[in-house]
């Protein structure tokens, strides 16, 4: 037993699968609920990515077609261990919902009418909401280093959160603005040699 344990300890492939399996089990209420869990596991626990890299992952996953949870899983898996890594993370994140849906379909009567299950789900959703607020606070503290970043973040927040604009357009606008800001910054740096690129 000890031997097996040692063999599987620090096996990155196993860690990739298990990490996303666990995230898949507790992610209730859609893709964004995954963000705080991913951030905790991937940045803090396994140190696979930095906070900035996780943000890249979130934006790319939102901007591409497909289900956000799967996109994020594939992204992290591919960055760490290429094709095999991506397969493991994607299977990991899908497997829990796959099994649970089949169970729910088979036992729908029991699950749908149990008052305790309904209450537990309310609690879980409340936790997920608090955790997203925490993730936004933490990522914001890390990334929003100046006025430019704050304005962009707040603009994205208001357009998506309150006006229901599709995230894809907001991301594309962000990319364009980023290109312009980056180019201007470089030009300034080139002319006086004192600019800072961020």
């Amino acid at each position: 037993m000890e031997k097996i344990k040692r063999k599987f300890k620090d096996n990155i492939y196993l860690d990739l699968f298990l990490c996303f399996f666990k995230v898949g089990v507790v992610t209730i209420g859609g893709g964004m609920a995954m963000v705080p869990l991913l951030q905790e596991k991937i940045c803090d626990k396994y140190k696979w990515m930095s906070e900035e890299e996780i943000l890249d992952c979130i934006a790319v996953s939102q901007g591409l077609p497909g289900v956000i949870a799967i996109n994020m899983a594939t992204y992290v898996g591919y960055v760490k261990k290429g094709f095999v890594g991506a397969l493991l993370t994607t299977f990991g994140v899908i497997l829990p919902s796959f099994v649970i849906i089949i169970l729910v379909v088979c036992f729908l009567e029991v699950v749908g009418t149990n008052p305790y299950i309904g209450g537990a789900l309310e609690g879980i959703k409340a936790a997920a909401t608090g955790l997203i607020a925490f993730a936004a606070w933490k990522m914001g503290k890390q990334t929003l280093s100046g006025v430019f970043q704050w304005v962009l973040a707040l603009a994205a927040f208001v357009t998506i959160g309150f006006f229901g604009v599709n995230a894809v357009w907001v991301i594309l606008a962000g990319i364009l603005i980023g290109e312009v800001a980056f180019t201007m910054n470089k030009a300034k740096e080139g002319s006086d040699g004192s600019g800072t690129a961020d």
Partner: protein, 196 residues
């Protein structure tokens, strides 16, 4: 099991995986069309599926695929449909990551990320608003006209739980999974009997 049916399940849900930009609500109508291609499902049953999906782990599109495939052709059907919904995204993201890591040093990619990162933070904040609306209110936000109305539909226990979660995570560094489990148990008793 008929191979043709499995292939059709795979392809139908691959279509959802391919066009589902931004995820979730935006592709609801398409999911409904795809599911009703295979199952005699009416709007009520679809609403149930939606509720189950909100209340179980995993994204709606994946849950709908598993559900539809399972009802149509058992476990093999569920596998075919679920793989279908995941397949296009898998390929696209893999290609995208490859491209990004190859051109990481290019000005164009660096510039893009300068803009993308703050936007992603904004998206997480927006995600909070959307989650908060379904978690904390028993009605929908646009219907609220005054503070009084807002107070009427707000769920006080859930508000406290959201605040407790935030404080526990931020001040006391309690892990996310632990918090979800704790709130699930608390909710089972404090919010007992609330509808899905």
């Amino acid at each position: 099991m008929e191979a043709g049916l499995l292939i059709k399940l795979f392809l139908t849900f691959a279509k959802i995986g391919l066009v589902g930009f931004g995820g979730g609500m935006a592709i609801l109508p398409l999911i409904y069309q795809s599911v009703s291609e295979f199952n005699a499902i009416d709007a009520d049953e679809f609403a149930d599926l939606f509720a189950i999906s909100q209340a179980t782990p995993g994204p709606l599109a994946v849950n709908a695929a598993t559900f539809s495939g399972f009802e149509t052709a058992g476990i093999p059907g569920a596998i075919a449909a679920t793989l279908g919904v995941a397949f296009p995204a898998f390929i696209l993201v893999a290609l995208c990551v490859r491209f990004l890591s190859r051109y990481k040093q290019s000005r164009l990619v660096q510039g893009a990320f300068v803009g993308i990162r703050p936007v992603a933070v904004g998206m997480i904040m927006a995600g909070f608003v959307m989650m908060a609306e379904t978690t904390l209110l028993s009605g929908s936000l646009p219907d609220v006209g005054s503070i009084g109305q807002l107070l009427e539909i707000v769920k006080p226990v859930q508000v406290l739980m959201v605040i407790a979660t935030f404080v526990a995570a931020q001040k006391f560094k309690v892990g996310a999974i632990k918090l979800i489990l704790i709130m699930g148990v608390l909710g089972a008793f404090l919010c007992k009997g609330e509808l899905l």
